[in-house]
Assembly symmetry: C2
Homo-oligomer: 332 residues x 2
């Protein structure tokens, strides 16, 4: 098999424990230091992290459980990965595609791998499936969701304020008939974004029409269908707010398909600003979540916990984003 610490010990006529100490940055007599260094290099010795983890119960590894890999997630992951690695940790990323079973598998896999901490994203954060993590007292952080009854840290974007800004933009420009294609009710983010929408109408004392509220499911398809349904109404809205990226893709496709002129006939603002927002014509006004920053923050907090610092536990971070005004909204 491969070279072990024993081999190095034999080679140098030193004890295993001395080699071990050296490998972990401990103090060793300068002369031995050199001898060891030389032998390690010559033999091509690499400590076996598995064995090391077995003793020390620290693996310098953190588990990330996401719903799926997509354009949106990727930016968060970039932030997480960067921060984690800067702190000497490595991420193990699993996806569950909103399947409770896969999520459970992933969690158990990660626990068996003895990760030092876990970040979970999306709806499944809620409820029982994270309980075993808490039981084992593994630091746990929720991303893009909050469950009030669980003692853990959270990082979310301020969706209510974000959607408030987006919808207010519409209202300020004179729109009163404003539709929304929201996310599925079970999602924390969806509820937040809907809340922001509703609050605008409350604040501006405009009546909200039930038929303008379409519950989508965050997929391309539901964005597409949402627009179709809205457009078929006797009195279609003059503006619409789309609650996430994928649905926006579908919505724009439907708008093109139906030959609706944007923004002349229909104004649009969207949550989740993406590269294509400024490429499609008209350029889309949108609310940009600080995705990478969310990842960075999440990782930072988790690192803190893994270092045993529970000073501000449990922490709920709600990051602000920014509204970007482009050309998809007209004044009425």
């Amino acid at each position: 098999m491969s070279i072990t610490i024993k081999d190095v010990a034999k080679e140098t006529n030193l004890a295993m424990s001395t080699i071990s100490k050296y490998m972990n940055g401990g103090n060793v007599r300068p002369k031995n230091r050199e001898i060891i260094e030389e032998a390690v290099k010559r033999l091509g010795y690499h400590p076996n992290d598995i064995a090391r983890g077995l003793r020390s119960t620290k693996t310098r590894t953190v588990g990330i459980v996401v719903s799926s890999f997509d354009t949106h997630m990727v930016q968060i992951l970039n932030g997480i990965e960067k921060t984690l690695r800067a702190n000497g940790y490595f991420p193990i990323i699993c996806s569950h595609r909103d399947s409770l079973e896969k999520a459970n598998q992933a969690i158990h896999f990660l626990m068996e791998k003895r990760v030092d901490g876990i970040i979970v994203e999306g709806i499944l954060t809620s409820q029982k499936y994270v309980l075993p993590i808490l039981d084992r007292e593994i630091p746990l952080l929720g991303l893009e969701t909050i469950t009030d009854n669980l003692a853990m840290d959270y990082v979310v974007a301020d969706g209510a304020t974000g959607s408030y800004q987006a919808v207010e933009e519409l209202v300020k420009r004179g729109h009163t008939k404003v539709g929304i294609i929201s996310g599925p009710e079970g999602y924390y983010t969806a509820r937040e974004r809907l809340r922001g929408y509703l609050r605008v109408f409350e604040d501006y004392e405009i009546e909200v029409k039930k038929e303008y509220i379409i519950e989508g499911d965050y997929t391309y398809q539901s964005g597409y269908e949402g627009i179709c349904r809205l457009w078929k109404l006797e009195q279609p809205p003059t503006a619409v707010f789309i609650c996430n990226y994928n649905m926006c893709l579908g919505a724009v496709a439907a708008i093109n398909q139906l030959g609706i002129h944007m923004p002349a006939e229909l104004s649009l603002v969207t949550f989740d600003d993406m590269e294509f927002s400024r490429i499609v014509r008209p350029h889309l006004s949108s609310f940009r979540q600080p995705l990478e920053k969310m990842g960075i923050q999440a990782a930072q907090i988790l690192v803190k916990r893994m270092n045993g610092d529970y000073g501000d536990f449990p922490k709920k971070v709600r990051l602000k984003g920014e509204f970007i005004s482009r050309d998809s909204v007209r004044c009425v």
Copy 2:
């Protein structure tokens, strides 16, 4: 600490090895079976995978090293993850952002974690940094790249044929002045795609103009600049072939910015079909790589190797994609 196999043994008055056997699916007397099951559940016992890996030298884990997380990679990863998990393996994903140092770190991390196999993607597949993997005889597969002198499996999309198809579409519709914004020369994929472009002109006996060949670097920025440079030419091309997704985003942005009418003034085809291709107007004609399939194939081959099956080693899979004709090309 947590519950170990010893605890279960004590609880059931059976030997550790019996529990172990049961946990690994071995045959156990029905009565004991029940007893064990019950105790495992009651105690909440989960085998420690670290310890297990230490003994068995199998970790059921495979390392994935990618250049970065992006829209394109995500689809490949989906295929990999799905296939791996269906076979009982879990991926550990690392990115290196084209930094040789980070790539090395990642490789060592994965080897220390004793992964059963590794998939590497992108340019850095080449050369020395994968050598330690081969040395240790860990199954290794290269994705989106090929290095001829290394004995390992590869999965790539047939970029030459893909770009041939894309460019031929242009030529068939009467374009002779065709520009290309290619990838950086060091990339296997970039060379392949350029090769396809050149071969079309060879086959159709059309002269290629040097100034129509712009070497980009696969980024948004370079796509943008590429169009600008092409458009400034005394005799700008009437069509352009963009070699990847990010550059295409940039190219379309530039086309809009410059007020170039597409396809009237400039036709465009692109490598990498993405959702936005059929949303932007005009819809983009493009070559679609079978990204998810590439991931699936890669994982399948690796699984085979990890099972000790080296029957067809080394295997080089070159997957065909499809050209999708939309509205961004006009006939001259």
